[in-house]
Amino acid sequence: MMKLVKITLIIYMILFMSSCLLYYGTGDYFFISRDGAQIPIWIRGNTGSGNFIIYNHGGPGGTSMYYNRFHSMQELEKSYGIVYWDQRSSGISQGNPSPESLTPENFVEDLHAIRMFIQQMYHTENLFLYGTSWGGTLSLKYLTTGDYQEDIKGVIIEDGGHNMPLLMNTSIQRISNFAKNQIDDDNNIDYWTDVLHFFSAYPDPTIWGVDEFQEYAKHLNQTNLERTYPTLKIEGDFSGPGGEDIFFSPLSFSMFFNPSALLPHMNILSLDLSDQLGAIKTPVLLIWGEHDYNSPVPEMADDAINNLLTETYDGPIPNAGHNPAIENPDEFLYRFNNFINELIGD
């Protein structure tokens, strides 16, 4: 009997030890508790450089906690301290914030808390914001709030959505045109006909609810799946989180459930910052992928350029869609690093 107990205990010891070996243990990790949310922050990379970049993930409802595995972020970490954080009720953010706290304005206050924390905990010489998609929208909203843009050295907006009505209308146009082309080519005619019927039945996205938005998102993803470009470059090393990341990283199942709790309470489809962009004095780098159907160019870039006074934009990045950092990392990094180096004088 004792032999059985001993064998069992040895097996459990092995289970315990193997569980602890593979965690992602690098960098600094904290949580900020604010207004009901417990927000994770992961600081990685070259924190000794004094140059920090706060990464604002997309969504709303996404996560930044596996972005450090993309080639482009690993390259950026060699030069800068990168601050990954998950917004309230998004990704692996915890707590139990009230539905009333799920507003873009409160997300701005969360970002301000992150920014203040980084400035107080580290010797930051230069602080940048980098936002992807909704994270770009959040970054620009942050800059147009009070005096928050002070001491922000620069902002990088990757395929942002500063004008959601324009974004949605142009995106729907792209998807509809794509659907018509698919029908003309006798490709999955029933599905693409349904797509056109959906957009005809629900023509005004500013009054959509979650169901309509999710239907739109499904069709958008379908265009991305069926759209192929001979030059499209997907980073080979890492294309998204897999089993290793789910089981041996800070990621959890909440990243799949949090968006469903967030989206019914935070509808950003009528959010339009175009008129406020002129108040931004901070240098802004605009990056767009030429094949982005989510936030299409040239319409979205033109609107940003017409309203911003401090922008840098070198045209759409070729061979890229909604995530140039992933799809064309070399060109993305070239523009990103040039922008920062010009501002910090390297």
Binding site: T8, S18, F30, I32, S33, F117, P250
Partner: protein, 189 residues
């Protein structure tokens, strides 16, 4: 299965268990024969390690079936995500098979204390104060199923492996499901 259906299922199991406890034959008569203790590895998603300790009271038993309410306390850690401390009452139902094997299912409820697994700083008006007790109490329900082997003797020992799920509420206003395994030993006095 939707969460509302899961809640109905768990409640139904609880009612059935209560009925069995207060009805039917019970071959176990001595109080000391009815007590068991258990210790198990709790792996949230299998690999986030923890431990469960429990004590059970076999309320109903016949030649092929046992019903044992258990009180369990558990702790586990998901590094850089969260730690949890669980106190739970569950109902363990065991179907005994020939030659010592058994199938079992446990369903229960209780509460769970969770905290982020990293320093937590409370932010207020551009001031940060480290939270000395960042634990949050929540409700918890669970359901596990699996099987094992009974090593017969004066004091039988069960070796078991159960897979299942527990849910915590409120987590961002919803029931957050966790997958988990329990594997351990149960010692009967």
């Amino acid at each position: 299965m939707s969460l509302s259906k899961l809640k109905i299922l768990l409640l139904s199991i609880c009612f059935l268990n209560t009925y069995l406890i207060f009805s039917g034959d019970n071959k176990t008569n001595e109080l000391s024969d009815k007590i068991s203790i258990n210790i198990s590895y709790l792996g949230e998603l299998g690999v986030h390690p923890g431990i469960t300790l429990g004590i059970g009271y076999t309320a109903y038993s016949n030649s092929w079936y046992e019903l044992t309410p258990q009180f369990n306390v558990s702790w586990y850690i998901h590094r850089r995500n969260h730690q949890s401390f669980i106190m739970e009452l569950d109902f363990l139902q065991k179907a005994k098979l020939p030659s010592g094997a058994f199938l079992e299912m446990a369903s229960g409820f209780g509460f769970i204390l969770t905290r982020p697994d990293a320093p937590v700083y409370i932010y207020d008006d551009e001031i940060f104060i480290e939270d000395g007790f960042p634990w949050s109490p929540k409700f918890q329900v669970s359901i596990f199923g699996g099987g094992g082997w009974t090593f017969e003797g004066e004091h039988p020992i069960d070796l078991y492996l159960n897979l299942g799920s527990f849910l915590e509420y409120p987590f961002n206003s919803y029931w957050l499901p966790h997958g988990a395994i329990h594997t351990g030993i149960r010692y009967s006095f």
